[in-house]
Symmetry: C2
Subunit: 323 residues, 2 copies
């Protein structure tokens, strides 16, 4: 690697002057010319490691997500990256596989790498960001919020989304609207279910609620199994709210096996089914604005990195129902 000293030697100036040229401080036109020529000839790229060590700041933000193969999180990552890039930051994407240990490891790495900040889609409510907070490293929780109150968060209005999904199915004439939600330990799963419960209680009374509620795991197989169970009931549902995209893919599978499909069987889903546009007809999609979520989180984080020390905020984005 070419260093600043070699450039300085070649240009016949001191390393300090080279640094000044690189960072836009005042130098004579002649020095600048010499330095730029030398740098170009030697193909010099400043060593970011040295720069970071000296400057204590890193221009890297960490994005920790539970599942890189879930399109929701990749869309979110896209949003974060767009904003970060525009501000001159790079993004390090870390995939935890919903494993709290891996999450903890990545948080430690973020700390030790002196990343400028971290955006975390928590694996579960108990995610421990105390070390980041203790070291004053900016953190933003996204999608799910954290138990502690002193951390910024960006979420969507899951309860309202769940409610409107269920409402629209009732409005379309369905009478037994089931719910397949995520793990009970996960906030979004609880809230989406709560929205459904509210609408269902209003339209159909409290009595059938427990029968038609299933907790699954936010994955394809879980959705398939839950739907199969529901269809095997003595009084099966005629519609369902499904709390994420992966489970919906599984649920559609199970419906298909039973000779059913939307729009005959009502289906409302949280989040888009990206590569299934052909099979999506007749499905009501609650649009979770993943990319916007990422953008909002990045914006918030960049403000904090910029020095904003105001009290923690939570930004809640609205869901929107498509078709």
């Amino acid at each position: 690697m070419v260093t600043i000293y070699e450039v300085a030697a070649r240009a016949g100036v001191s390393p300090a002057t080279v640094s000044r040229v690189l960072n836009g401080a005042k130098v004579s036109a002649e020095s600048e010319r010499l330095v730029r020529a030398a740098a170009a000839e030697l193909d010099f790229t400043p060593n970011r490691t040295a720069r970071r060590l000296r400057g204590q700041h890193s221009a890297v933000i960490g994005l920790i997500i539970p599942d890189i193969e879930n399109p929701f999180f990749t869309a979110l990552a896209r949003g974060v990256e767009n904003r970060a890039r525009a501000a001159g930051f790079s993004v390090v994407l870390c995939n935890t596989d919903e494993d709290p240990d891996r999450e903890a490891t990545y948080i430690d790495i973020a700390l030790a790498e002196h990343m400028a900040g971290v955006i975390l889609a928590p694996a579960d409510d108990a995610s421990d960001v105390s070390r980041l907070v203790a070291h004053r490293r900016p953190v933003v929780a996204v999608d799910r919020s954290l138990a502690r109150a002193d951390v910024d968060a960006v979420t969507v209005d899951n309860r309202a989304g769940g409610r409107s999904a269920a409402e629209s199915l009732f409005a379309a004439g369905f009478t037994r609207v089931a719910c397949i939600t995520g793990p009970s330990s996960v906030e979004t799963a609880q809230l989406r279910m709560a929205g459904w419960r509210q609408a269902a209680a209003r339209h159909a009374g409290e009595d059938y609620l427990e029968d038609l509620l299933r907790y699954a795991d936010y994955r394809v197989d879980g959705g398939r199994a839950a739907m199969a169970e529901l269809l095997a009931l003595p009084e099966p549902p005629d519609a369902a709210v499904v709390a994420n995209n992966l489970m919906a893919a599984g649920a559609l599978d199970a419906l298909h096996d039973a000779g059913l499909a939307p729009p005959g069987f009502g289906l409302a889903v949280f989040g888009d089914l990206p590569f299934a546009s052909f099979g999506r007809r007749g499905i009501r999609v609650v649009d979770v604005p993943a990319r916007e979520l990422g953008e909002a989180a990045a914006t918030l984080l960049l403000e904090r990195i910029g020095g904003d020390a105001g009290p923690a905020k939570t930004v809640v984005l609205r869901t929107r129902e498509q078709r």
Copy 2:
């Protein structure tokens, strides 16, 4: 941040001794005890930036991909990450959006960040890795190979995959098998098409080939448009080989609009349609082993990082046809 000096002061030893304890060099049991106690009390984490500057090595590998929202690349990323993690490396994921400028920027960053190596899924054949090679930084091309011969690559046997996809459609009794492939500037698109062409020429003669071949852009809309065009022909195809998953989603859409669907219309696709299991019935999938591709690339890269200086190799994985 707590530094090694503070730990040393607290333990009553020199920083050198603290470093020795951390890195497993010889120290007396007593010193070790003191240092560990001090480090624990102060919640000390060694500064990776300083460590990297001194050691010149980074334990970070860069993974540059053209589209983070394509499940093929996320699966590949998963494979890379698994291997890298097992070897103690972290992975920085960079998304270029198929833009050669962004790719070049990320390559520069990889260089300046002193990453241990780079795995690149090239945006196109002209991707310029010369700076990496010039600086002896290990590079592995994945999915698509590069024009230059001195860079390791991991690819799949695209031609064989294309051929067997087409063969299996002919074997199933289809007679007019079309092909929707990617941009003509992209190697994989050319090879997959070439495989189809070979099979088609054998089964149906050369004459209809040009009619039934469409170049698109490897994206959903391109696939939809290409299929719509094919269906509007005076003599439309009764089956098609589609060169990637995204275009297949679009093609299925177009088929649906025309009242067609597999298995009545034969469809063979390169790569899985991850969230469309329900709609995938009757489709022949050429399984592109994305995760294995990532694992192989990471393995190769780690060998190079480990010092393997043998001549460049290309690893070709076989595709497999599912159902």
